[in-house]
């Protein structure tokens, strides 16, 4: 969930093969960009969704390219 200029939860741990969906609840558009460019959501306006299936283990750190102070992490085990 993307709300109040933050990713909720900030850190999420999931099993390999899980699809994570981000949905933007803010009036501002946001994006979900992985630091190493593994995934990039494109523009997410209000209520827009972006999903990514994690098939490899590891820690994926991402941020919003419009508001780079917004950061989050997905830990895939």
């Amino acid at each position: 969930m993307v709300e109040n200029f933050s990713f909720q939860p900030g850190t999420l741990t999931v099993k390999i093969g899980t699809t994570v969906t981000w949905v933007n609840h803010d009036d501002e558009p946001h994006t979900v960009n992985e630091n190493n460019k593994t995934f990039k959501s494109g523009t997410l306006d209000t209520d827009a969704k972006f999903s990514y299936k994690f098939t490899s283990p590891g820690t994926y750190s991402y941020f919003c390219s419009l508001h780079p102070r917004m950061t989050g992490q997905i830990i895939v085990k």
Partner: protein
């Protein structure tokens, strides 16, 4: 209605410091004097332009495409701001748009913005992009539309009647904030290519050249928690340190804040679309939604800047849309 601050010159040529009067222009504007220097009054130049005097307008954060509270018609308020410009006593020499022209950098949003600005009575508009104009495609479409005459990723400088204007880009290649411990600041950044260009650009200028720098994100650190600052602006400002008068015009934060630091005065501008909360007064820097409709226009506005060529500082007039 137009009771303006007067410029008083004694007959022996010595300029007295004017008493700074804060007054209303059309019931809503404020005149700010910088460095308590001499101001000039627009009423002293009726019709004919005095040599060496000119004015330009800063307009910012039009966010064409935004359609939520507190402003569901940002194109309308943008047009109102342009209408205001067209009703100024003296036609400004040019306009500067300090970014976030569009909300989502789509072609039709850029089209609409261009359309509105076509109706402005000014010979030219200079632009710098905001993050909203470049985030979806690293600035490709922005540069297609507004890149003419610019260098590198869109920066440029130009001279007008002895004043050197510098347009800087600090919204590209934004790095993630410190949350992940990966070293980014989440602030704006100029980058080494642009800094190198800037150093060369001002090298040959005499220190008495007045400098005006414009960029989207504030070039001083206002509130890092909300990304309101530029990581490497100190280096840029170090190249400008030797100049006698530096004015920095920014946008991004949708409110007017000002700061004086030595020879540099910084000004952020109002948006023509929606206001944002003062630093730290809200959980996040989004649009202030609970603004009553009849108050909205008093929080949006534009800025007229007048320059008089005798070592006096720029006179800045901020006016709201209502």
């Amino acid at each position: 209605m137009s009771d303006k601050v007067k410029n008083e010159k004694e007959s022996n040529g010595v300029e007295r410091r004017s008493f700074l009067k804060c007054m209303a222009w059309a019931g809503t504007g404020l005149v700010w004097a910088m460095n308590a220097g001499v101001l000039t009054s627009c009423s002293l130049m009726p019709g004919a332009k005095r040599k060496g005097v000119f004015s330009f307008v800063q307009i910012s954060d039009s966010h064409i495409g935004f359609n939520k509270e507190p402003n569901q018609d940002v194109t309308k308020t943008f047009q109102e701001a342009v209408n205001r410009i067209n009703s100024l006593e003296e036609q400004p020499a040019f306009l500067i748009h300090t970014g976030d022209i569009t909300q989502l950098s789509t072609p039709d949003q850029f089209d609409t913005a261009t359309q509105v600005l076509k109706s402005a009575k000014a010979s030219q508009v200079y632009y710098v992009p905001g993050e909203h104009d470049v985030f979806s495609d690293d600035g490709k479409i922005y540069l297609e539309r507004y890149g003419k005459g610019t260098q590198g990723q869109g920066w440029q400088s130009f001279d007008y009647q002895g004043v050197h204007f510098i347009g800087l880009i600090n919204v590209l290649n934004l790095k993630q904030g410190t949350g992940t411990g990966l070293g980014g600041s989440g602030l704006g950044q100029l980058g080494s290519d642009q800094l190198e260009w800037l150093e060369k650009d001002v090298k040959g200028l005499s220190s008495s050249t007045p400098i005006v720098v414009y960029a989207h994100i504030p070039l001083w650190t206002i509130y890092p928690e909300w990304g309101w600052g530029t990581e490497d602006s100190a280096q840029a400002l170090s190249y400008l340190k030797r100049f006698g008068s530096i004015t920095v015009l920014n946008g991004h934060i949708h409110q007017i804040l000002q700061k004086v630091e030595g020879n540099v005065t910084f000004h952020t501008a109002r948006s023509t679309a929606f206001p944002q909360p003062a630093p730290g007064t809200a959980p996040a820097p989004g649009p202030m939604k609970d603004v009553p409709a009849d108050k909205l226009r008093s929080l949006l506005g534009l800025r007229e800047i007048t320059y008089v060529s005798n070592n006096s500082p720029l006179a800045i007039t901020d006016s709201a849309l209502a």
